[in-house]
């Protein structure tokens, strides 16, 4: 058998309105993208191949599901026109649909199933035609079959139309509360009602109330309360004394201090009330609080501390720099590149020349270990254009200026980055979130300690540049 999944843009447009950055098929339901539930069901139903057919964009889904290798089922993709009826859709996928039985999932619907059931035998015994339907979609079978047909009265399946945000919210809560989950949830389950992912740091003073599901790379700080009924996706930080109760926090979200999130869905800087469907965009990116409260005296003190630290480093690096720089330049291992960068330190675009050292010999390895590639940048700290530690400056290309001015404004461009200090994985999303955390929590003294840590880490590092 094969499965054809037909989803139309007009049926999921509402969801796109709430989560504009996520393709509606990749919106997570209990930390697992919706598309994966469809794939799981197709496999349970005994499918040997699956095709997503849509009248809207498919590339994000394709990038995520790829050829289906991860699930062991070939996944393909096809486009249709929004005016095509079911018959036309099948004709357009004639080759896929021919010679075999096809299970057709038509509409933006969630299929309630239970992984314990043997859907393969069940579906094989059903006659062609519609199995189930709801107002906006259906499940049907099509194609030749040889076995004797018997009609079952009670099919252990039901459909739910995904049409408003409240349905989505309740669906997540329902799955979270299902004791032995009928679905395959992300593989980090270890305890009933409590799924926790990798690289999750939970403060001893934080309280976890079941049921909860927490994704990867999540930090939960002191005195925060998580649950009951909390769905927290990956790359999330829940700051001090905040609460997430009966709520969903989507990936890459920062919940600021003293924030109570109850009966809500938080995604980036958007807070949604599921029942009414009202969504509010917070002015602070990533629900970030406390970043703008630091007064000018603190920033002045900070610039002085950073300046002094830079001066000290300049003095320490001066002699090694003067010796190694000419040699490496001659060897061609001292590679310069000039780009425009944005920095919130002076709220300007800077033209910086950054250096990459090719680590191929003892001298260049030494130079890289001593962080000599950052030497010239230290002078920028003295004149207050960069911080000593913060975020790596963002390269600005003309087309990206507008995006950066809003979302990156909380990051201080710096010579060393917090991500380097923490040896955080090389991944844009993760690095950004850890830097946001420090942008909110850093203080001048901590900065010095972290700078030392960054310097120390770079000695062992094999990479020359973040």
């Amino acid at each position: 058998m094969k499965t054809l999944i037909i989803i139309r843009e007009q049926d999921y447009e509402w969801l796109h309105h709430f989560f504009p950055d996520i393709h509606p098929l990749l919106v997570p339901i209990c930390n697992k993208p919706f598309a994966e539930f469809l794939i799981d069901f197709s496999i349970l139903a005994g499918s040997e191949a699956l095709r997503f057919v849509m009248d809207g964009p498919l590339s994000d889904v394709e990038r995520y599901c790829d050829n289906g290798n991860r699930w062991g089922i070939p996944v393909s993709y096809a486009s249709i026109q929004s005016t095509d009826d079911l018959q036309t859709v099948i004709e357009k996928n004639q080759r896929f649909c021919s010679a075999e039985r096809v299970l057709i999932i038509n509409g933006f619907i969630f299929i309630h199933y239970d992984k314990q059931h043997n859907y393969k035998t069940l579906l094989a015994s059903l006659p062609d035609g519609e199995i189930l339907s709801c107002d906006s979609g259906s499940l049907s079978l099509r194609g030749s079959r040889s076995e004797t047909q018997k009609v079952l009265e009670n099919i252990p399946l039901s459909l739910i139309r995904l049409d408003v945000i409240d349905v989505y919210y309740r669906l997540c809560m329902e799955i979270l509360n299902a004791a032995s989950s009928p679905y395959v949830l992300p593989g980090y389950s270890n305890e009933a009602y409590c799924h926790i992912g990798r690289n999750v740091v939970i403060s001893k003073r934080a309280e976890i109330r079941k049921p909860v599901i927490i994704g990867n790379n999540v930090q939960i700080l002191a005195d925060s309360i998580i649950g009951p009924n909390a769905v927290i996706d990956s790359n999330v930080i829940i700051d001090r004394e905040s609460a997430v109760i009966d709520s969903i926090v989507l990936a890459n979200t920062y919940i600021g201090e003293h924030l109570e999130v109850q009966n809500k869905i938080a995604s980036g800087n958007i807070l949604i009330e599921p029942e009414s469907g009202i969504s509010i965009a917070m002015d602070d990116p990533h629900l970030l609080t406390g970043i703008n409260t630091s007064g000018s005296s603190k920033s002045l003190f900070q610039s002085i501390v950073h300046g002094l630290a830079a001066l000290l480093l300049i003095l320490l690096q001066l002699i090694p720099f003067l010796i190694l720089w000419p040699i490496l330049t001659l060897q061609g291992k001292w590679k310069k590149s000039t780009n425009s960068y944005y920095t919130a330190v002076s709220e300007k675009y800077l033209i910086l020349t950054t250096t990459a050292i090719e680590r191929t010999g003892p001298l260049s390895t030494l130079a890289a270990a001593l962080s000599l590639d950052r030497f010239t940048l230290l002078f920028r700290v003295l004149i207050g254009q960069l911080a000593i530690i913060g975020s790596w400056p963002h390269v600005v290309t003309p087309s990206k200026i507008t995006e950066h001015s809003s979302t990156e404004s909380c990051c201080r461009a710096a010579v060393f980055s917090y991500a380097e200090t923490e040896e955080w994985p090389v991944n844009i999303g993760d690095t950004a979130i850890v830097e946001r955390y420090y942008a909110a929590h850093g203080n001048p003294m901590k900065d010095i300690a972290l700078t030392l840590k960054a310097l120390f880490n770079r000695i062992h590092e094999t990479n020359t540049h973040p």
């Binding site: 964009p57 590339s59 096809a78 486009s79 036309t88 004709e91 004639q94």
Partner: protein, 115 residues
Amino acid sequence: MIISENTFNNITVIALQGTLDARNAPQLKQFNSAGAAANSIVINLSEVDFLDSSGLGAIVSITRLKRSQGGDVILACMNDKVRNVFEITHVYKLFDIYDDVEAATLNAEKKQTSL
């Protein structure tokens, strides 16, 4: 690029083979099908291993011409790499895309006779 022409179910099928980029796009644009101008054609893309925006432009261009003459261009059997270019540029919305040449010709014929 090799362009060959065939007829299936009274519909002209143009099979493209090879690379469809700036070097070969003019060849496709200038290709004169033996079929009547007002008739629909099916372009079989199964043997196209690479297509860029110049190739895409050529397909859009001949489609515009066909449509202005009362015919249509229907696409068949595009691989994922080719589909990706149609996808990013949103040009997929302009076409009826089939995964099978025969199904495409049957449909083109149906459309043609209903006109």
